[in-house]
């Protein structure tokens, strides 16, 4: 009797598992989209404003405008950043996703590899006004090189150097640093009596990667070779990471406590006058929220080794931004394209990027006085002249995790007073590279 019962249970479980495995696998993305439900769209927006409610307030009237023009009702869901990638992965797995969605531009190649997103070939681009309307570097961050983009640029951002004018004045410094040597010299003049030169988010993997990537470009290093294989231990990559850590370890212009920062505490330190400089993307709204007045801080391009920012070794920022993508199995393909066309139209680009403090990746929309103020001008010029996208490879998120963690650990070493040498940096990066090979 007992054996019989056990056998029944086993059989049931096996049968269920077989059913589950068999009917799983999503509804399939092979067949492409259709126009079965032309009257509605679902849109997943990333959280660009101070909070989700603010985003709904900004996007709401625009979606109404779209509905009036096309008769398509857009169902909006604003998704906070910590959840967004998991939600997209779940949607990819189940095949039950939105029609249109925002993605971080560094995810483009990874999500492209899943095959769940519509490719923007010549025909699809023509439906939204052509490829040439967009800034070339922003287009580089929409998927792997040599493939049709998996998304279209929506909001763009770059890094800038924010500095506290009063602290600079008190230290007798008249202008922001343009080279790293100047930055270190200025930082040393400021770093005393509980004040520090530069802020860092040592515990935030993504931020670590962004800084190391730009410094790497200046040392002539990419973290991946032409074949897409990791090359974290090249001399240039090691020198770039060491330079960043040395701001704390050797130059002592970053407070040791920054090694554990991971929730934007460095911005708070800046706003409260504890540190004089931070390297950040569009931090103005946060500073204002922390009680600074717009005249209290200045904005300058991120320093370079020498000369002025440009291309090649003069790159001084990663190209940050948000792309808009269409799920391949949408049931309103034409509507989705219309919506992307609407969101990337000159008028909407001006309006939305102004509201979010970002820079439009659409060239025509950049010619607006709002993108020519002192802070937005620096961001816009960096974006158009001296920013490069992170490696567009499917393993991008492994890269962020492994190298970002290596930098976090190195900061921890530096903060604990352990020596940081070329050899120790190389050892950490070698370990990160081994993890990539899993």
């Amino acid at each position: 009797m007992r054996i019989l019962r056990a056998a029944t249970v086993t059989a049931t479980v096996t049968a269920l598992a077989a059913v589950a495995a068999g009917c799983g696998g999503g509804s399939g993305f092979g067949g492409g989209g259709s126009d079965d439900s032309p009257r509605s769209l679902t849109y997943w927006a990333s959280n660009q404003g101070p909070n989700v409610e603010a985003d709904k307030k900004i996007l709401g009237p625009e979606l109404k405008k779209f509905e009036r023009r096309t008769g398509i009702k857009v169902k909006l869901e604003v998704i906070p950043w910590p959840e967004l990638l998991n939600r997209i992965l779940a949607a990819t797995t189940s095949g039950q996703g939105p029609d249109v969605l925002n993605i971080g531009n560094t995810w483009s190649a990874s999500l492209q590899a899943t095959g769940a997103l519509l490719s923007w070939d010549r025909k699809n681009f023509a439906a939204i006004g052509g490829r040439d309307r967009f800034l070339a570097p922003a287009l580089d961050a929409t998927g792997a090189a040599g493939k049709d983009p998996a998304a279209v640029p929506l909001y763009s951002l770059a890094y800038a150097l924010y500095y506290n004018k009063r602290m600079f004045q008190e230290a007798g410094i008249s202008k922001p640093p343009a080279t790293w040597d100047e930055l270190v010299a200025d930082g040393k003049r400021i770093a005393k009596d509980g004040k520090w030169g530069l802020g860092a988010e040592g515990g935030q993997l993504t931020n670590n990667i962004h800084q190391a990537f730009a410094l790497g470009k200046q040392h002539g290093a990419d973290f991946f070779d032409a074949a897409g294989k990791p090359s974290f231990t090249s001399d240039g990559a090691v020198a770039a990471v060491k330079q960043y850590i040395d701001f704390m370890a050797k130059d002592k212009i970053i407070a040791p406590g920054n090694a554990e920062y991971g929730q934007n505490q460095s911005l708070r330190d800046f706003a409260t006058g504890r540190t004089a400089m931070v390297l950040w993307q569009a931090a103005a709204t946060t500073f204002s929220a922390d009680g600074m007045k717009p005249g209290d801080w200045g904005v300058a391009p991120v320093p370079v080794p020498s000369g002025t920012p440009g291309t090649g070794r003069q790159i001084n920022s990663m190209l940050a931004g948000i792309n808009i993508a269409v799920f391949k199995n949408t049931r309103n393909l034409r509507g989705a394209q219309k919506f992307v066309r609407f969101m990337t139209s000159d008028a909407e680009q001006r309006l939305l990027n102004k509201a979010y403090g970002s820079i439009p990746p659409v060239k025509a929309a950049q010619r607006d006085p709002a993108f020519d103020r002192k802070d937005t001008k620096v961001l816009r010029e960096t974006l158009t002249q001296s920013a490069a996208p992170l490696p567009q490879i499917a393993e991008e998120s492994q890269f962020e995790t492994s190298v970002g963690t290596a930098i976090k650990d190195l900061f921890a070493d530096a903060a604990a007073g352990h020596p940081v040498t070329t050899a120790s940096v190389k050892a950490r990066l070698a370990k990160a590279q081994q993890q990539m090979a899993q």
């Binding site: 049931t12 479980v13 269920l16 598992a17 589950a20 495995a21 068999g22 009917c23 799983g24 696998g25 999503g26 399939g28 993305f29 998991n86 992965l89 990819t92 797995t93 095949g95 990874s110 999500l111 590899a113 899943t114 095959g115 769940a116 515990g203 935030q204 993997l205 407070a255 040791p256 406590g257 090694a259 554990e260 991971g262 505490q265 499917a394 998120s397 492994q398 995790t401 970002g404 963690t405 976090k408 650990d409 921890a412 903060a415 604990a416 370990k431 081994q434 993890q435 090979a437 899993q438």
Partner: protein, 307 residues
């Protein structure tokens, strides 16, 4: 006729159980089985859109996982050792604190109700809110912990980091014990109510002191409760994900790299769900073996004690 009656008699309980059983299958077993199936597949971002059709990898994921000479296996082994130490210490401390507090609060005194309520607060707080508060307390420059230890008591020469390096293990342990011990307290307190007062009175008449009473009466009476309590505490702390995740974020320091967060990193963060599943299955097997061994050992011990 008799056969049908018998069938009805035997079948009824099963019929009544059926809805629960089906839901149980749906909620627990099916995801588990799918997880096991996934662990034999090569499930990276290239295949998740058609995960049913992802290529089979046989034991490939497991081979990577248990190859302790390669980085993946070595870090998993390290993480396993850390988790074992963490669980044993958490269970031990939670039990000790919980039992001690429960025994002391058996005495009738003014303010007992208030103390009981206060002791239970950590258990009632939402995990995220509680742990993020601890993360602020443990901050090096502005945290309360360093303010007390360094600024006021002068115990440390330099401000130590609590969320980086080796100290992170201590920080994690403190938060975990703080969060879990009220459960032990609650359970032991409930169990103490059922011990007859006469036993203590008789023991007191015979001249047994407090320590002797605890050793000879209280602890033996708590035995069946402790058996379950220790097991539950162990399983909880071994699988704890929320505490390290909220405390350290995506990348925990090596000293506090618990298995659950390690597995999360190996699957969600690096998009390699096959390897993550293989690690999860190994974790499940380990916990099954431990649980079975524990139950076998303790129930056999009890039977011989009862006899």
């Amino acid at each position: 006729m008799r056969g049908r009656a018998r069938l009805r008699r035997v079948g009824l309980p099963y019929l009544l159980l059926l809805p629960a059983l089906l839901l149980e299958l749906l909620v627990h077993l099916v995801p588990m089985v799918i997880g096991i199936v996934m662990s034999f597949k090569e499930l990276t971002q290239l295949h998740i859109a058609h995960w049913g059709a992802a290529p089979w990898k046989a034991l490939g994921n497991y081979r990577v996982t248990v190859d302790f000479d390669a980085p993946a296996g070595a870090t998993l082994l390290h993480s396993f050792v850390v988790t074992c130490a963490f669980s044993v210490l958490t269970v031990g401390l939670c039990w000790l604190l919980g039992t001690a507090a429960a025994i002391f609060l058996q005495e009738n005194f003014r303010g007992r109700g208030l103390l009981r309520a206060v002791f239970l607060t950590p258990y009632a707080l939402p995990v995220y809110a509680a742990v993020i508060t601890w993360a602020f307390l443990f901050q090096r420059d502005n945290g309360l912990v360093n303010h007390v230890l360094h600024d006021q008591l002068g115990l440390t020469g330099d401000r130590p980091f609590w969320l980086l390096g080796d100290n992170s293990f201590v920080a994690l342990l403190v938060v975990s014990v703080w969060k879990t011990w009220p459960f032990a307290f609650l359970v032991v307190m409930a169990a103490l109510q059922s011990i007859p007062k006469d036993l203590y009175e008789a023991a007191a008449l015979d001249g047994a002191g407090l320590i002797r009473q605890i050793r000879r009466i209280t602890l033996p009476s708590l035995r069946p409760i402790n058996q379950v309590l220790l097991l539950v505490l162990f399983l909880w702390s071994f699988n704890d994900f929320n505490t390290p995740y909220v405390l350290f974020g995506k990348a925990a320091p090596e000293a506090a790299d618990l298995l659950s967060i390690h597995i999360y990193q190996s699957s969600f963060v690096t998009w390699n769900f096959g390897t993550g599943s293989a690690m999860s299955v190994l974790l499940l097997l380990f916990l099954l073996v431990v649980t079975a061994g524990y139950l076998l050992a303790t129930s056999r011990g009890r039977k011989s004690a009862d006899a």
